[in-house]
């Protein structure tokens, strides 16, 4: 009896291993450079330094960390990085610059080859230190000072933005406005609003002299003074700022903030009764799927959330683009991990693409280092990889993380090729085969709190293409 029990235990223990063997290898739609080294038994850590607890950034950093965790588990179950296990270490700055420095010093003790940042403020703060320490950083979008220094002209740097900079996104939107006079009128005037105070590095990142000049050159006026607000601002408080822009003849309000920003501004516009007169647009973070959750109780006269029809940039794949197998995979994994709606933001997707990038960057670097130095032991190979080696890979290896966007820093630019597209946020109809025209025909999911969730959909209005380069001096090259 004891032997049978022992046999059963051995069989039970063997089952997961067998199952894992079946799962080894990534699906075809996630192509990666073939491993020429064996890193089994090793660990590759994703070091993230950012604000995960303050009201400012946590709505995007918490889903990001969840995305990294789920993706790491998935990739580890499918072979990791040439056998090495992916783990994550996070340092919470709480949005405090002093803590950013403390956290950086702590993470640096682990001798990281690559770091992840998610705040323009942190990137601007750490830029000189990173150059000195030769540690490359991946950031999603970013500010010009964060990548190119205060002057915007400093070409050395170790921070790489995988998505268009905020200034580039704003300029791209201006081009779209100029190309569509039927929608925005012959004399469009944009009023700019962005997060201020400690979040101004992000909030005002797109309001640069170059962007304003670019827009005005294309016939789109920008109101001289940007209106800044804190993430805590209520719709009623924002109404005053919107009024300031309206009195300067604004026809479009552009909001450079995370998702709460455009939602509150939409509420403010409705509050002052100008929903029919003003168009609303935002940066990629404003087009987060969480806007649907945030605005579910703020409905317009048409019965749809007030952010219905909002324009914005979306430089990567989005939740409702379900034809894409990568989106299908991410959705299935979010379901499997029981991730709720608050986690299913765009940064959850970016968490997955980040892990995919790590797999590719480490594979390519490990292959190269092993060949160059004649190393075969996994531990020695990873030991030999440093920031300089990683930077060489980043700058010389174009790649599409999960096929959702292009990451191309070839030629030494730290702003990725910056493909962007302009999209519009709408809501699905009840039959899920089109766009809802009013609350009556919209798909509604009762959340049990007296509100309905209206599943958002994005409509692609322009093809993916390079966004204008808004670094100082670059306009001359246009």
């Amino acid at each position: 009896m004891r032997k049978i029990t022992l046999l059963l235990i051995v069989l039970l223990l063997a089952l997961p291993v067998a199952a894992q063997d079946d799962e080894m290898g990534l699906p075809d739609f996630l192509p990666h450079t073939e491993c020429e080294v064996d890193l089994s038994g090793q660990t590759i850590t994703i070091y993230h330094l950012g604000d995960v607890s303050s009201p400012g950034y946590s709505p995007i950093t918490l889903p990001l960390l969840a995305g990294i965790a789920d993706a790491a588990a998935y990739y580890n179950a499918h072979g990791g990085v040439c056998g090495a296990e992916i783990t994550q270490v996070n340092f919470d700055t709480g949005g405090d610059p002093a803590q950013t420095s403390v956290g950086y010093e702590q993470l640096k003790e682990n001798d990281p080859d690559l770091l992840v940042l998610y705040s323009s403020q942190d990137s601007e703060l750490l830029r000189p230190t990173l150059i000195e320490d030769q540690i490359p950083v991946i950031i999603s979008a970013g500010s010009i000072p964060g990548l190119y220094g205060e002057s915007g002209m400093e070409l050395d740097g170790w921070i790489y933005a995988t998505n268009p900079l905020y200034a580039d996104q704003f300029a791209d939107f201006c081009d779209f406005v100029a190309d569509n006079p039927d929608t925005f009128g012959e004399e469009p005037v944009i009023g700019y609003m962005g997060w201020g105070g400690p979040f101004a590095a992000f909030g005002l990142a797109a309001f640069t002299d170059e962007t304003i000049a670019h827009c005005e050159m294309n016939g789109v006026d920008i109101i001289d003074e940007a209106q800044t607000f804190l993430p805590t601002a209520t719709a009623e408080e924002l109404a005053t700022l919107v009024e300031n822009l309206v009195l300067e003849d604004a026809t479009i309000i552009y909001v450079n903030a995370l998702a709460t920003g455009p939602v509150r501004v939409a509420e403010a516009i409705e509050f002052i009764g100008l929903s029919d007169e003003l168009e609303l647009a935002t940066v990629n973070w404003g087009m987060d799927s969480s806007v649907a959750l945030l605005s579910r109780a703020s409905l317009g006269e048409d019965g749809l959330p007030l952010v219905n029809g909002m324009y914005g940039s979306m430089p990567f794949g989005w939740w409702t683009e379900t034809d894409d197998p990568a989106i299908q995979l991410i959705t299935a994994e979010a379901d499997a991990n029981e991730r709720d709606l608050t986690v299913r933001g765009i940064s959850y997707i970016l968490g997955w693409t980040l892990v995919d990038s790590y797999v590719e960057l480490y594979t390519v670097t490990a292959n190269r280092i092993a060949e160059e130095q004649g190393l075969t032991d996994g531990g020695e190979i990873l030991e030999a990889i440093d920031g300089v080696a990683m930077r060489e890979t980043i700058e010389n290896h174009a790649f599409e993380p999960m096929g959702l966007f292009l990451q191309d820093f070839e030629g030494g630019t730290r702003r990725s090729v910056a493909n962007n597209r302009i999209v519009q946020l709408r809501f699905a109809n009840a039959t899920m085969d089109g766009i809802a025209t009013s609350g009556d025909d919209a798909l509604k999911i009762d959340l049990g709190d007296g509100t309905n969730y209206y599943p958002p959909v994005i409509i692609q209005l322009t093809e993916f293409g390079p966004a204008p380069d808004m670094r100082p001096g670059m306009m001359d090259e246009e």
Partner: protein
């Protein structure tokens, strides 16, 4: 001799100048320049100024309620409670949870009701639980609370949420007093203030762990609006008197309801302090704890009650604010903006807190409107606070402190 007098009269000396008069006239001059500038700005956008005034008063109503909660604790124990904003957040989230779901854990509900009841009957001393009458009261209270918190019908969810939120808030207040403030009694007051800072971080962390980072909308007023057939925004047409692209003064119904309830809550608490035994006992305790104890007042129980009431005020402010603006991690910042209101009104004055809140609300919206940015929201409360602290360090209605040296 005559020559000497003449020389003295014409000699210029800085010491001979009447600096007080110079300051006075300079300030008056600056005030006149400011008023002229203000008049010109108002003339540019009179509708905006009117709108800012209405909004300022309404926003100020919520600040007042927050400020009253802070004053309450300060009156009873002399502590400036930095955790008030986080208490608002957690208690509003508890209310939200009972309002939005019926799928709660019965164990959690029984624990919530049971622990609250036990702490309630043992406000003065743990041994009070052993008194049969108290134990019976705790048992009955637990039973009633559990029944009310688990009301199954959807149309009764407001009652469920009110009972659940109130129980949660009272539990927070009593636990703070029992486990973090009472052990520090006798220590310097600064120690207790630091404890409230620690509690602030703790509550924020707990709320993020339990309720996530996305704002939640509390729709308690939408049903009322539908029943009373009130629009979400009341619009008063001003086009006949003021020419502007925006032709209406707009008032959010949620904010009006929140303001009315804030004023009602304020009146209720003012009456409580003026006319109830426990209210009077609290006032006596705040004046002099030793003296209060010597006349037989149970000071520890009174302090516990003060924390419980402050937590209820935090719940009220959190729910009313959340109904208009959502419940989220930004909520504690509201309390930070209410701090100037507290100091403006005077640390011990409940009436002062009310007026201070409205003044701060008005200053904020006026400055936003006049300076064309959110300078008002970010700066105006603190500029006013600085001026008041310089001119009247005890606030507008605070007690003047005379200490014997």
């Amino acid at each position: 001799m005559a020559t000497n007098v003449s020389t003295q009269k014409t000699r210029f000396s800085l010491q001979n100048l009447n600096w007080q008069q110079i300051w006075k006239w300079t300030l008056m001059g600056l005030a006149v320049i400011f008023l002229m500038w203000l008049g010109a700005r108002i003339d540019e956008n009179p509708r905006g100024f009117l709108q800012a005034t209405v909004s300022g008063v309404l926003v100020g109503g919520i600040y007042s309620l927050v400020a009253v909660g802070i004053v309450m604790i300060n009156k009873a124990s002399g502590i400036f409670n930095f955790a008030h904003g986080a208490m608002m957040l957690v208690s509003a989230f508890i209310f939200f949870s009972f309002y939005t779901t019926q799928n709660y854990s019965m164990v959690a509900v029984i624990l919530l009701a049971g622990v609250t009841s036990l702490l309630f009957v043992a406000m003065n001393n743990w041994r009070d639980i052993l008194i049969p009458r108290n134990a019976l009261i705790a048992l009955l209270m637990t039973g009633v609370l559990v029944v009310l918190m688990t009301l199954p019908r959807d149309d009764l969810r407001l009652i469920r949420a009110l009972v659940g939120g109130t129980t949660g808030a009272v539990l927070i207040g009593l636990m703070i007093e029992r486990f973090s403030i009472r052990p520090l009694m006798g220590q310097p007051i600064f120690t207790m203030i630091l404890m409230t800072l620690a509690l602030d971080s703790l509550f924020k962390g707990v709320s993020q762990m339990l309720w996530g980072s996305i704002d939640q909308k509390l729709t308690i007023f939408s049903g009322l609006q539908a029943t009373l057939n009130i629009p979400a925004t009341i619009r008063i047409d001003t086009s006949a008197i003021i020419e502007s692209r925006i032709s209406t003064i707009n008032i959010q119904t949620d904010t009006v309801l929140a303001f009315i309830l804030s004023v009602a809550a304020y009146v209720a608490f003012a009456l409580f302090f003026q006319y109830t035994n426990i209210g009077l006992a609290m006032r006596a305790t705040s004046e002099n704890q030793r003296l209060a104890q010597s006349v037989g007042l149970r000071v520890r129980a009174i302090l516990a009650a003060a924390w419980a009431i402050a937590a209820l005020l935090a719940l009220t402010a959190g729910v009313l604010y959340g109904a208009g603006n959502g419940i989220g991690k930004n909520m504690p910042d509201l309390a930070i903006r209410a701090f100037p209101a507290v100091l403006l009104g005077g640390l011990e004055s409940i009436g002062g807190a009310m007026i201070g809140g409205i003044v701060i609300g008005l200053a904020q919206t006026w400055a936003d409107s006049l300076f064309g940015s959110d300078a008002g929201t970010q700066l105006a409360p603190y500029v006013i606070l600085m001026i008041v602290l310089i001119v009247r360090p005890d606030g507008l209605f605070g007690q003047k402190r005379i200490e014997r040296i």
